[in-house]
């Protein structure tokens, strides 16, 4: 056992134990670690966004734009819209902050409307292609592939699974008779999918636990070879 002299690793180890202490029950040590984590994360976010967005994008570009106006005149300044147009982003960002003042908070909706409108417009086509059309395309498969038994079975499962899964989400007709049977089969496919997802989730959470144990016993306590 070789305890590390690194103070940072000691802090990490003690904070890890603090978070784990919640498994026994809520306690002040856990509360402290949780609050520290949230505070540090928020602080890190704020500083990073301030320097990489507010300063690096808006301030610098607007500064260049204004400089063009001053040194090269109005026409050249107007032509340099790629720089000074960042001011509009700044104004929209400022309007968002008006939510802090209830009387004029409604103005922040303009910024939100701009963000929601442009984002949905921009994402519509790309999402439609990659998450819609390309996926639909791959379910249009041959029901029988000559000489390839496994592909045939795989194709049948995909086609039947997709059709029955969609049937389950069709609520305009009562789930009875043949239609109800297909919907029930759809539930089975969905459950198997959720089961696979759950299995991967367990694996993932265990990996994180293993990572922390490795940190505590290896990096911190030096008990591993």
């Amino acid at each position: 056992m070789h305890l590390t002299p690194d103070i940072g690793i000691w802090i990490g180890g003690l904070l890890t134990l603090g978070i784990f202490s919640f498994l026994y029950g809520d306690n002040p040590y856990y509360k402290f670690c949780e609050a520290l984590f949230i505070g540090v994360s928020a602080g890190h976010w704020f500083v990073t966004l301030f320097w990489t967005v507010f300063v690096a994008k808006m301030i610098r570009n607007v500064e260049i734009g204004l400089n063009t106006f001053i040194t090269q005149g109005f026409s050249a300044g107007m032509a340099d819209y790629m720089h000074w147009s960042y001011i509009f982003g700044g104004i929209l960002g400022f309007l968002m902050l008006l939510r802090l003042f209830p009387k004029i908070g409604w103005i922040s909706r303009w910024s939100l409307a701009f963000v929601v409108g442009t984002t949905s417009g921009y994402y519509f086509i790309t999402y439609l292609v990659s998450n819609g059309l390309r996926q639909i395309q791959r379910t249009i498969l041959p029901l029988y592939v000559h000489g390839d038994f496994y592909t045939t079975i795989g194709n049948l499962i995909i086609i039947v699974g997709t059709f029955c899964g969609l049937t389950y989400f069709f609520f305009s007709k009562e789930h009875k008779g043949t239609f109800g049977g297909l919907a029930r089969l759809g539930i089975w496919f969905l459950m198997i999918t959720f089961g696979a997802s759950f299995g991967y989730t367990v694996m993932s959470r265990m990996s994180l636990l293993i990572g922390r144990m490795d940190y505590i016993f290896g990096t911190w306590l030096g008990m591993l070879g």
């Binding site: 990073t48 990489t52 791959r138 265990m206 490795d214």
Partner: protein
């Protein structure tokens, strides 16, 4: 209260304790379990292996430190494989808490393989709003990243001369713990048609199999298991392989708990019906 009812009312802290012990014992007494390689991981390995010295691979390190245990071995193994084959790397870190961690990995491996920044690899670092960054890089890497992580202009880096956008890289591999992967698929592959493979956390893995089936990604590494498979193939590192024994022990304990919970549920329900 009979045995089954007691089983149903078991304090969850006992479960935590047993799972904790099941993890700690193999951590302190490691053993090996066989790792079977899947086709989706082998596809990534084969692709990297087929690259010639001087080819460029884009490695997107898009995870935060909390996902290190799962996906860090993937990034490490791929980077080692590339450096060993003299494949050049362009590396980005689009997750907000990831750049420092990525830098640590790059400096560790570049020292080990004697690789130099700007000649053998180019670390672009972090820029916010990953979807816009991914789109921007499709036009020119210099739009979102006029300089590399260390502040050196891209044009002054020897390996970046003549390298404009995704057309100049052979393949993009995204190692991720969040929805950045979605944007690599939507914009990277969907819009710019990049040859894309992904390595993701276990939680995310099942969601990306449809993209594998549709050919939008050509390879998929899922969680620690995917990482261990890659380590087996590339023979670069064994951290994930070692962890698989712990993973296996923990899974056996959880399966036993699930079985016990179900027995308790059905038996106590049977008693109630009677």
């Amino acid at each position: 209260m009979n045995f089954y009812e007691r089983l149903m009312n078991l304090d969850r802290r006992w479960v935590y304790l047993v799972v904790g012990i099941a993890v700690i014992i193999p951590v302190l007494n490691p053993f090996r379990v066989p790792v079977y390689v899947t086709q989706e991981v082998k596809a990534i390995y084969d692709c990297v292996e087929s690259l010639e010295p001087g080819d460029i691979l884009f490695l997107a390190i898009d995870y935060d430190p909390q996902a290190m245990a799962e996906v860090h071995p993937m990034a490490k193994a791929i980077m080692r494989q590339c450096f060993a084959k003299d494949v050049k790397l362009i590396i980005s870190a689009l997750s907000q808490n990831g750049p420092g961690m990525a830098e640590q990995l790059i400096s560790e491996l570049s020292k080990e393989f004697g690789k130099k920044s700007g000649i053998d690899y180019c670390y672009l670092g972090y820029k916010p709003y990953f979807s816009i960054v991914i789109l921007g890089m499709g036009q020119n890497f210099r739009i979102p990243f006029p300089t590399d992580y260390y502040g050196v202009p891209l044009d002054s880096l020897p390996m970046m001369r003549g390298v404009q956008n995704y057309d100049d890289v052979k393949v993009v591999i995204d190692i991720s713990s969040g929805n950045i992967t979605d944007y690599w698929i939507i914009y990277g592959n969907g819009r710019y048609n990049v040859k894309l493979a992904v390595g993701v956390t276990g939680v995310m893995t099942a969601n990306y199999y449809p993209y594998l089936a549709s050919g939008q990604i050509f390879g998929l590494m899922g969680g620690l298991k995917g990482a261990s498979e890659y380590e087996v193939l590339s023979k670069q590192g064994d951290r994930a392989i070692k962890m698989m024994s712990i993973q296996t022990t923990a899974h056996i304990v959880i399966i036993l708990f699930i079985v016990a919970g179900n027995i308790g549920y059905f038996m106590s329900r049977k008693k109630k019906i009677k």
